[in-house]
């Protein structure tokens, strides 16, 4: 439920670029709107405080008017009591001063026009009456003047006083209202600004969350998927809701995964077919070979028994050819099994000295064949080793028979020492011959399948050219290595190092071993 917004953003049919720009502009727009709102609120506050200031000045002016009115009316009334010309002049002057005060107020009394006009009218009447009184007084008609003063002036003055009071009161009430309004407006504006700020922040955060989630979600999914593909899992596909570049990326990722899966299955099938073919072929070839070798052996035995020895060399040639063919088939099968990863290690504990003795015995006929001498220099107590004995035996046998093949009337030396340098120790074996040796060029191709030093060598010395490739793969499977030093025409030294206790088999040792990158120290 929480994810509906990122999902909506993801589904929007726009590019990632557009979405990012859109989100950015949305946030900028929010900022601008927020700024405008704040400016308007500030303007409102300013306007209201200006209004209040005006009202305050108006109230002050009204108060002044009221105060003056009271004073003048009082002064005027007092002045009219005396018949002296000086007093009368004073009364008239005060009357005009009041007029002046009133006119000065005209600009602030737009709202109270009615009241102002009323005051104006009453004042005119007062002026009229007082002018009359002054005239009567000057004419010494005191009784008439007194009567007029009492009947007209006093009520008019009272009315004027009352009207100015009312004006002040009304203005003060106005100001009170305005101040209340202003306070209320301030509170409202504060909430509007806070509301806008909170809303904008919330919207910006939501937008940021939605956009980043809609982008990062698929990236994480695809990262996880790629990791699985790297580990060889092609079975799943990645589902992202995006209709942008990321969506296309995910589609391409899924397509790639499917292609890889198909390719992987094809390769697997091809490899299986190859293995099956080799296995079947080798079986089919072995059956007739079985008969060739067996019957030639039997005929040789018969010839021996019947004293017909002339046949024996030919029969032995048939048998030897059969054996060679068998060896070839076995080596091809071995190598194809190693390459298919079908070879497993079966470690067991055995005595190294016993094994070396056994191999030396097996290889003796080959040593004698080229009139060589085998010298064995090894510690008497090499002790127990935990490894696949069949493969260690084959490694030693391959190296020794290889040395025999390329040496005539020479010496083949096997040195074996136990090296305690790391972990459980290492068995280090050197097989040295005084044979034909190799050139740099020849050594480069040495451990690659089917690559005897050159074709002439293969013709002359026989063999499959697979022995060293198999030997090297066995060494690496067991966690060890093989190195070669050689001088053309002087001889060759192979050095094998194997751990005394087998580590768990390494799957990648096989694949890296087939790459043909041999490790040599010359």
């Amino acid at each position: 439920m929480r994810d509906w917004l990122p999902r909506v953003v993801a589904r929007a049919p726009f590019t990632v670029h557009t979405k990012l720009i859109g989100a950015f502009f949305a946030i900028v727009a929010l900022l601008i709107i927020f700024g405008i709102v704040v400016l308007q609120v500030l303007g409102g506050i300013n306007r209201r405080s200006e209004d209040i200031g005006k009202l305050r000045r108006k109230v002050a002016a009204f108060r002044q008017l009221q105060h003056n009115t009271t004073n003048q009316l009082y002064g005027m009334t007092t002045a009219l009591l005396s018949p002296e010309e000086r007093m009368l002049e004073s009364a008239l002057r005060q009357l005009h001063e009041f007029r002046y005060d009133l006119e000065r107020l005209q600009f602030v009394t737009k709202d109270e026009a009615e009241l102002y006009n009323k005051i104006g009218k009453e004042h005119e009447q007062l002026v009229e009456v007082i002018t009359k009184i002054v005239e009567l007084t000057r004419e010494k008609k005191f009784a008439r003047a007194r009567e007029l003063r009492i009947t007209r002036t006093v009520p008019l003055a009272d009315s004027l006083e009352r009207l100015t009071n009312e004006m002040v009161n009304r203005a003060e009430a106005d100001m009170e209202t305005k101040i209340d309004e202003s306070n209320q407006a301030y509170l409202t504006s504060r909430w509007v600004v806070i509301g806008f700020a909170v809303g904008s922040i919330g919207l910006a955060v939501l937008l940021g969350y939605a956009v980043s989630s809609s982008l990062m979600g698929p990236v994480k999914l695809m990262d996880e998927r790629l990791r699985q593909i790297a580990l060889g899992d092609f079975s799943r596909s990645v589902e992202v809701p995006n209709r942008d570049e990321l969506g296309r990326l995910a589609n391409n990722l899924n397509r790639m995964s499917e292609e890889l899966r198909d390719l992987y299955q094809k390769i697997e099938a091809a490899s299986r077919h190859k293995s099956d073919f080799l296995s079947n072929m080798s079986h089919e070839l072995r059956t007739p070979l079985n008969a060739i070798i067996g019957y030639s052996e039997m005929l040789a035995e018969d010839a021996e028994a019947r004293d017909q020895k002339g046949f024996i060399p030919d029969l032995q040639k048939i048998r030897a050819s059969g054996k060679h063919l068998l060896e070839l088939i076995n080596d091809i099968l071995d190598l194809s099994k190693i390459e298919a990863g079908k070879v497993e290690l079966f470690p067991e504990t055995f005595n190294v000295n016993d094994l070396i003795r056994e191999v030396a015995g097996t290889v003796q006929p080959l040593i004698e064949k080229n009139s060589n001498i085998l010298a064995i220099n090894c510690d008497d107590n090499l002790g127990a080793m935990y490894a696949d004995i069949t493969k260690v035996r084959q490694i030693l046998f391959n190296l020794l028979s290889n040395a025999c093949k390329f040496t005539e009337h020479g010496t083949i030396t096997l040195d074996a020492v136990k090296d305690h340098s790391e972990g459980t120790g290492w068995l280090s074996v050197n097989v040295t011959d005084t044979g034909i040796g190799m050139t740099e060029e020849q050594m480069k191709k040495l451990f690659q399948p089917f690559s005897q030093a050159d074709i002439q060598t293969a013709r002359k010395f026989g063999g499959t050219g697979l022995g060293l490739a198999i030997t090297r793969q066995f060494c690496e499977m067991m966690g060890g290595d093989i190195k070669v030093r050689s001088e053309h025409g002087r001889g060759t030294v192979f050095t094998v190092r194997l751990p005394m206790a087998a580590p768990p088999p390494k799957a990648d040792a096989i694949s890296s071993a087939t790459s043909g990158d041999s490790s040599k120290s010359v």
């Binding site: 296995s279 059956t287 079985n290 008969a291 070798i293 052996e297 039997m298 035995e301 076995n330 079966f346």
Partner: protein, 125 residues
């Protein structure tokens, strides 16, 4: 002389091995499939059985398992012969109850050593 039961379906292998074994003085009886092998083992009571693994009717592994399950034949040593020499074949054969293992084409001298070793072990107890 010791009696050896040879269970093998390939005619030439059968002919060769039986003739060479006879020449070495063994009393050889033969069977050409797994089922016949089991029957012969029960009736002829050989001292040792040479068992090919890829046999018709009943394969070598199953035949060996049946032989080792029957009290009257369980003690007879069985040498498995396989033409595959695949990695794990030895373990598979030993797992079925075989006492030893060799690959075809047989190295006759080596096979004789294995036969003699098992026969000797058989006499001792």
């Amino acid at each position: 002389m010791a009696r050896i039961l040879l269970v093998e379906d390939n005619e030439m292998n059968l002919d060769m091995l039986s003739r060479r074994l006879k020449r070495k003085g063994y009393d050889v009886v033969i069977a050409v499939d797994g089922e016949a092998g089991v029957t012969m083992a029960a009736s002829e009571r050989p001292d040792l059985i040479l068992m090919d693994m890829s046999l018709p009717v009943l394969d070598g592994w199953e035949a060996t398992r049946q032989l080792k399950d029957m009290p009257e034949t369980a003690a007879i040593p069985v040498i498995a012969l396989t033409s595959h020499a695949m990695e794990g074949d030895r373990e598979k054969a030993m797992g079925a109850g075989c006492d030893d293992y060799d690959t075809k084409p047989v190295d006759f001298e080596r096979l004789l050593v294995k036969i003699e070793a098992l026969l000797k072990k058989q006499e001792k107890p």
